[in-house]
């Protein structure tokens, strides 16, 4: 079970509390986790990644285990502690004023 923390706006949109949990089979990657989140909460489609290209939205960041994984390849395996559910995968709205 992968733990995912969404930013406040997306929690409101999805109607969830701080953390959501998704099942991912096989190698756990950023793409697989986000696919699972979007499947479980389809209202989030297009809010984290471009719907066409799958590219991360410019002002969205992905953190885990105190590392910025935003620019990691989407198919790279996530840290083992995320895979084991010991640490959450964080979706974060970038610091950008306003």
């Amino acid at each position: 079970m992968i733990r995912v923390v969404l930013p406040p706006h997306l929690r409101t949109l999805a109607g969830v509390d701080r953390e959501v949990r998704v099942e991912v089979a096989g190698t756990v990657t950023q793409r697989m986790v986000l696919d699972a989140v979007e499947q479980q909460y389809p209202m989030l489609l297009g809010t984290m990644r471009d719907r066409r290209t799958g590219k991360r939205r410019a002002l969205v960041r992905f953190f885990a285990c105190e590392e910025d994984l935003s620019n990691e390849p989407p198919d790279a395996p996530l840290p083992e502690r995320v895979v084991r559910g010991e640490e959450p995968f964080l979706v974060v709205g970038a610091m950008a004023g306003g």
Binding site: P7, L13, M43, G46, R57, V60
Partner: protein, 371 residues
């Protein structure tokens, strides 16, 4: 007793303001979608409790929200706004080709007859339609692929399709306006489009009376005269009486003819409202005085309306979608400002009252009359 519901979009959420027919006391709910930019909220003429909201932001993109109970509850619907292949290019600010790229929905225009049908105007300029209650959106490609489309350039606010007017007499005819391309009309339900900019003159483009390239800020129509349109252009207030075939300037004695919104009285097709601002570089009302100007002659002759509006130290703007009228016997007129005030007049503009004073900057105002 009937009432009025105002749908207000702001930089940081939506607000719903309701009153009875007297329009003296207002209840305010919101913010809905707090923290998000709400470019537009609009209601279905066929089912006033069906509302649509364009919710967007730099972080998480575009959402469309729908309410089926007059704004008490909302549900996100489809947000897949795809440019049909081949996507092609338009011109960027520096004159180089740039692929069309979706940014946001500026305006939502519900069908007059079908609550499940709604049109959406996008930046980069494109027109979409949903016929299933907002679940799926289909681009009406004939507009963006007009031969002039590859030459359209954005205005300062982006290449935005901000005005959609559905002809009440002809379901196949509609008008749109794009900054900074101009006004366009379709007579075949959106399959093909005609630039309707003859008579416009814009000193900010090399060919002042070019077929396209004009920064049209807003169009308005009275439903009893669907061939007459009023336009607030970047500079100039214009009118056409032949469905856009020819425009003539009706700025007349306005102190400045730069502005954004324009609206027509609900029962008097020759009564028109604008809110002039100082200039293209000073987007605030002139001389620190908030004045709505009304023409009862279809333009040309204008009178300032000031009763109840601040007449000193006022430096707000009123954006293009932030003015509306209601259809009660005594026509109500409403507008919202960049300073977060929403003003109401229950007597066609003679006197004004601030319903609220401290909302986030107002992007849009729509008025519904409820049974």
């Amino acid at each position: 007793m009937s009432g009025v519901r105002l749908l207000v979009g702001t930089r940081k959420g939506a607000f719903i303001l309701t009153s009875d027919e007297a329009r003296r006391d207002w209840a305010v709910t919101g913010p809905h979608f707090g923290g998000w930019e709400i470019y537009h909220v609009n209601g279905s003429p066929a089912d006033p409790d069906r509302l649509w909201a364009s919710q967007s932001g730099g972080w998480f993109g575009q959402l469309i929200q729908r309410s089926d109970d007059g704004g008490r509850s909302w549900q996100p619907v489809g947000n897949d706004f795809t440019y049909a292949d081949p996507v092609g290019d338009h011109l960027w600010y520096d004159g180089t080709p740039r692929p069309w790229e979706f940014k946001r929905i500026w305006h939502l225009e519900p069908s007059r007859t079908d609550p499940d049908t709604v049109y959406a105007g996008a930046e980069d300029a494109a027109l979409y339609r949903s016929t299933d209650g907002g679940q799926k959106w289909q681009e009406l490609t004939g507009l963006r692929t007009h031969p002039s489309g590859s030459g359209w350039q954005p205005g300062a606010g982006g290449l935005c399709l901000h005005t959609i007017i559905l002809d009440p007499a002809d379901e196949n005819r509609m008008y749109v306006a794009i900054s900074a391309a101009g006004a366009f009309r379709t007579d075949d339900g959106g399959a093909s489009w005609l630039p309707i900019n003859r008579g416009l003159r814009s000193g900010q483009i090399p060919d002042e009376d070019a077929e396209v390239g004009h920064c049209v800020h807003r169009l308005a129509m009275h439903p009893s005269r669907p061939e007459t349109l009023f336009m607030q252009k970047h500079w100039d207030v214009m009118r056409t009486d032949d469905a856009g075939g020819n425009w003539r300037e009706v700025s007349g004695d306005l102190p400045t003819d730069f502005g954004f919104p324009i609206a027509v009285h609900a029962h008097e097709p020759e009564t028109v409202y604008v809110v002039p601002v100082t200039s293209d570089s000073e987007h605030w009302v002139m001389d620190g005085r908030l004045r709505v100007y009304r023409s009862r002659t279809g333009g040309g002759e204008w009178e300032p309306l000031t009763a109840g509006l601040p007449q000193e130290n006022c430096y707000v703007n009123v954006l293009r979608d932030a003015m509306a009228v209601d259809t009660l016997d005594d026509c109500g007129v409403y507008f919202g400002t960049s300073g977060g005030q929403v003003y109401a007049s229950a007597d066609a503009g003679d006197t004004w009252t601030a319903i609220v004073r401290d909302l986030p900057p107002v992007l849009s105002v729509e008025a519904q009359v409820l049974p």
